[in-house]
């Protein structure tokens, strides 16, 4: 471990960190935009949920590298080629959490809202979605952390990320670079996670000091095996 390597290479560490953060955050956010309507549909039409869940799991089982290779033909060697697969992978965590979050709204609350004259749409926007936020954010945390870790694979097709340090370190037989890449990945994941925990506290002041039912998270296989 050569500590002096870090300050000397600050100018390359910083841009790679920003690029990896982008690849870690954008896919879960797009995934969220997709998961909310899909989750709502799955709650409204119960029969829809099992096939959607199977499809999301099947997509998650696809090797990311294979997806990159297929996508290169359409989206070239740019960020999009990495963002699309990572977005699809995030659905496997986010859709179940949106569904569970919406289902966590108790029947009396739902019934009271209806009986007070909420239309279905209004009930969804003003009651059900706000109450689902803690469970949805729990899913988002898993999706973001896994996305940050998976993003390094983008380097294999030349999309800049922490993957650069692993490949470069391996080729030059220079372990320091690999350790730095690992440490940065963990650090970035922790920071993003903290931001999400903070935003949950801001979005759900009502949940403070209140025991929320433990979110039935459905994490896929550990991202590290990829």
């Amino acid at each position: 471990m050569q500590w002096s390597w870090i300050p000397q290479n600050w100018t390359i560490i910083w841009p790679y960190t920003l690029d990896n953060a982008l690849l870690g955050l954008v896919p879960p956010l797009i995934g969220l935009l997709i998961s909310v309507p899909v989750g709502i549909a799955c709650v409204a039409k119960r029969w829809l949920y099992p096939p959607v869940l199977s499809l999301a799991s099947a997509i998650y089982a696809l090797p990311s590298l294979a997806l990159f290779v297929v996508l290169i033909a359409y989206t070239g060697l740019g960020n999009l080629t990495v963002i699309i697969p990572l977005t699809l992978f995030s659905l496997c965590v986010l859709i179940p959490n949106v569904v569970d979050g919406l289902r966590s709204v108790s029947e009396p609350v739902r019934q009271a809202a209806t009986a007070m004259g909420f239309t279905q749409l209004r009930r969804l926007v003003q009651v059900e979605l706000p109450l689902a936020v803690p469970v949805i954010i729990a899913g988002l945390r898993v999706a973001v952390v896994s996305s940050i870790s998976l993003a390094s694979l983008g380097q294999l097709i030349g999309v800049s990320s922490f993957g650069y340090f692993f490949i470069d370190g391996l080729q030059r037989d220079f372990p320091t670079e690999i350790y730095v890449g690992l440490a940065l990945t963990i650090l970035l994941a922790l920071i993003c996670d903290l931001i999400l925990v903070g935003s949950r506290a801001l979005l759900t002041p009502w949940a403070r000091g209140r025991r929320i039912a433990p979110s039935p998270l459905t994490p896929g296989p550990p991202p590290a095996v990829r």
């Binding site: 108790s106 009396p108 609350v109 019934q111 009271a112 809202a113 209806t114 009986a115 007070m116 004259g117 909420f118 239309t119 209004r122 009651v127 706000p130 109450l131 759900t204 009502w206 949940a207 000091g209 209140r210």
Partner: protein
């Protein structure tokens, strides 16, 4: 006026929850639907605000079929309170209460002002409660918020589904009293569902007793339900001590009171003995200068006391419970009499001044007279009671 016209609810699996129900609920009254679980009372309630749609028949609200009204608009004019409160966990107390005004397009400030008025009305302290979330309240407080929320848009109709079943008996009694007090002020048309016949008799102006299978057994005033149950089912349902409970509905004002055995503490023993003899009574009630009761003097004890002394000098038995003929029922008077060692109870006015005393004999006469009067009303019932109150099973 809410009218059920041969309303039936049959579920796809063939279960009949409500069977050809005819019921009219008059304006400004508390109508309690009571019965064992599975008798269709909650289903009936939910057909009023269209949470459940009838399979056959019509539910009319002020002559208009509710099925013809847009559900959201209909529901904003009907308050709804449920056992589990259904408060929004993510909204503060004031915002929970402001829900329907906000839905009706009021601005936030006006809706909150309204919420604060309602907090006062239902006895929730604004300063400490307004900004709390529901989970920070006790069960009784949550239910008060639920009632306030239902009343926020001043709906003419209030539906309550087992509103007080989830709280402990002491809180429940307080909430029931609160409902009676609110209703005296607001005159809503209230439909309340409960499985607790005591609650039905306590809060109801009218009580509809349901049988299993969604049939009505009897619709009547609580007093009539206790005094003249139509059949064994209703008799069993209202319970075994209905004779005593019925006395709650007879005012104690009709009671003849003894006044010649009430003596000021300054009366001499000799005069007191004379008074007891003349009245033929064994106990004398001694009162102070302001007319408030001090205690009972036993006539037998007076003989051994010096004839010239004042009544204040003898040992007095405790007054015990008193009752107010202007406010209490014969049940309260009877209760006070039973609890008294002297087999007599003291009637006082609202200042606590003694009006007179009563005994078992006088109570017996008053009870008999009240029952006779009630039974005479029964005879005229078909003539002068509105058809809907008679209701009936089909």
């Amino acid at each position: 006026m809410i009218t059920f016209e041969t309303v039936t609810k049959r579920y796809p699996d063939g279960t009949v929850a409500v069977d050809a129900l005819d019921l009219a609920i008059p304006d400004g009254k508390i109508m309690v639907l009571v019965g064992p679980s599975g008798c269709g009372k909650t289903t009936s309630l939910r057909m009023i605000n269209r949470l459940v749609e009838p399979t056959a028949g019509r539910v009319l609200l002020d002559g208009e079929n509710v099925a013809d009204v847009d559900p959201s608009r209909l529901r904003r004019g009907i308050g709804y309170v449920i056992q589990q409160t259904g408060l929004f966990p993510h909204r503060t107390v004031e915002d929970n209460i402001a829900t329907v005004p906000l839905l009706n397009g009021w601005n936030k400030r006006r809706a909150r002002d309204r919420a604060h008025e309602l907090m006062d009305l239902v006895g929730l302290e604004q300063a400490t409660m307004a900004r709390r979330y529901p989970h920070q309240l006790s069960g009784g407080q949550q239910q008060r918020v639920g009632v306030a929320r239902a009343l926020a848009a001043d709906p003419p109709v209030l539906l309550m589904d087992e509103p007080f079943s989830a709280v402990d008996p002491i809180v429940r009694a307080a909430l029931q009293d609160e409902l009676i007090r609110l209703q005296a002020e607001l005159h809503k048309t209230v439909v309340l569902v409960t499985h607790d016949v005591e609650e039905a008799i306590k809060v109801g102006d009218l009580v509809a007793v349901f049988r299993p299978g969604g049939h009505l057994a009897q619709v009547d005033t609580p007093e009539r339900l206790l005094g003249a149950p139509v059949d064994d089912y209703v008799r069993d349902f209202v319970g075994f001590d209905r004779g005593i409970r019925r006395l709650s509905f007879f005012p104690a004002a009709g009671l003849d009171l003894d006044t010649d055995t009430v003596l000021p503490a300054t009366t001499t023993i000799a005069d007191a003995i004379a008074a007891a003899k003349q009245a033929g009574q064994t106990w004398l009630l001694v009162v102070d200068a302001a007319g408030r009761p001090l205690g009972w003097a036993a006539a037998a004890d007076l003989e051994s006391a010096p004839a010239g002394a004042a009544l204040a000098a003898v040992e007095l038995a405790s007054v015990g419970h008193t009752f107010r003929p202007d406010a209490d029922s014969l049940r309260a008077a009877l209760d006070a009499t039973i609890l008294s060692r002297t087999e007599r109870a003291v009637a006082v006015d609202d200042h606590g001044q003694v009006i007179g005393t009563t005994s078992y004999e006088r109570l017996r006469d008053a009870i008999r007279a009240a029952e006779d009067a009630a039974d005479r009303r029964t005879g005229d019932r078909s003539a002068d009671r509105p058809r809907q109150a008679a209701g009936g099973a089909r």
